[in-house]
Symmetry: C2
């Protein structure tokens, strides 16, 4: 997925995802600046500081902070998607559990909490910002497609019942997103554990073949 | 719930919820200013404009914008909770459906969309703002308690199976919050309809007594 990259991909070496080295360095600097200052405190100056280069070297690739953040979300979506990509030789039920644990870990470490806080900050802007909205639409589309794909494979292999895979995928994604959002914006620490148990029960009840 | 009200409740007439008329006028002005300008554009000046009074008349009740918004969330939680409060003579399964429809309407009107956008804007701040975080903890606690209460009543009356009511309540709340959040921050319009169907199936499967 490189459509969201607004930089000029032809001006240098590209990495596997189609990003040039220069772009990737800017993305990593943006990530560090977001972790340090949050969305509200983010500026091109601070990204340039993290990058150890001039602001002009960023403006050469991106017209504005919004343009850069749109590209950053596309970049992050690429990396994020890779991290939940399934290994096709796994048992589909175990794969679903792994996707859930990746997106909604029972005990997130400090870095995971910070990453989710950064994304929630950006996602909040998507209420009014069309560029961000497109990126989060893409991210949720990809996550739903990943979950749906596992469910469909389980049905084809005869492990799962013949359920509506799309409906199950949307349910799982909404539940994960809601619990993640709740954890980042409230002090209801035990809620995620309850949701993880209920989500497992839901998947078992919904997908298991009648014996 | 009046604990979250930071104004001086003793300086005038109080409404049913323990808010003085003056405080309630400020809350309604804050609500109108939020709908018009969003969280990012909110200022005491703009609230004063909506109120038709001076900024000093607001600062008499609230020390700062944050103080006022903390009170606003408490006020909104009061009103919101009243809107989903259940009528005890209803069938518990129908009551659950009504709570879901109130929180996650299939076809929200423009006002509902705006209200949810305002709350998402405020909730995004709860990642870093302790006052907001407390209020959203309270709001989610109340919503979970409402759902849990209906499930417990259904169990007591023998309509529902003897499930873990807390787990079901957390699952339903997370799914609703995730779908609401997704709708406000992406263009995945059909996702909510899929979640509504799957949530009904989940509740039917989870709660129905084995025949």
């Amino acid at each position: 997925m490189t459509d969201g990259c607004d930089g000029d991909a032809a001006d240098g070496e590209t990495t596997d995802g189609g990003w040039t080295d220069a772009e990737e360095e800017i993305m990593l600097a943006t990530y560090r600046a977001l972790l340090e200052h949050g969305y509200a405190g983010l500026s091109i100056s601070r990204i340039a500081d993290e990058l150890g280069k001039s602001k002009a070297s960023i403006y050469y690739h991106y017209d504005s902070k919004e343009d850069l953040l749109g590209a950053f979300l596309a970049y992050a979506a690429d990396r994020f998607q890779s991290s939940v990509l399934t290994e096709a030789d796994d048992d589909p039920r175990a794969e679903l559990e792994r996707v859930v644990e990746t997106l909604l870990p029972l005990r997130p470490d400090e870095e995971m909490r910070q990453i989710q806080a950064v994304f929630l900050g950006l996602r909040g802007q998507a209420v009014t910002n069309g560029t961000f909205r497109e990126q989060f639409t893409e991210i949720d589309d990809q996550l739903a497609a990943t979950i749906r794909g596992i469910v469909e494979r389980g049905i084809e292999e005869g492990t799962f019942r013949d359920v509506d895979a799309d409906r199950v995928a949307e349910h799982v994604l909404a539940t994960i997103n809601g619990a993640m959002y709740g954890r980042a914006t409230s002090d209801r620490e035990t809620a995620v554990a309850a949701v993880r148990v209920s989500l497992s029960s839901y998947l078992d009840a919904e997908l298991r073949r009648q014996s």
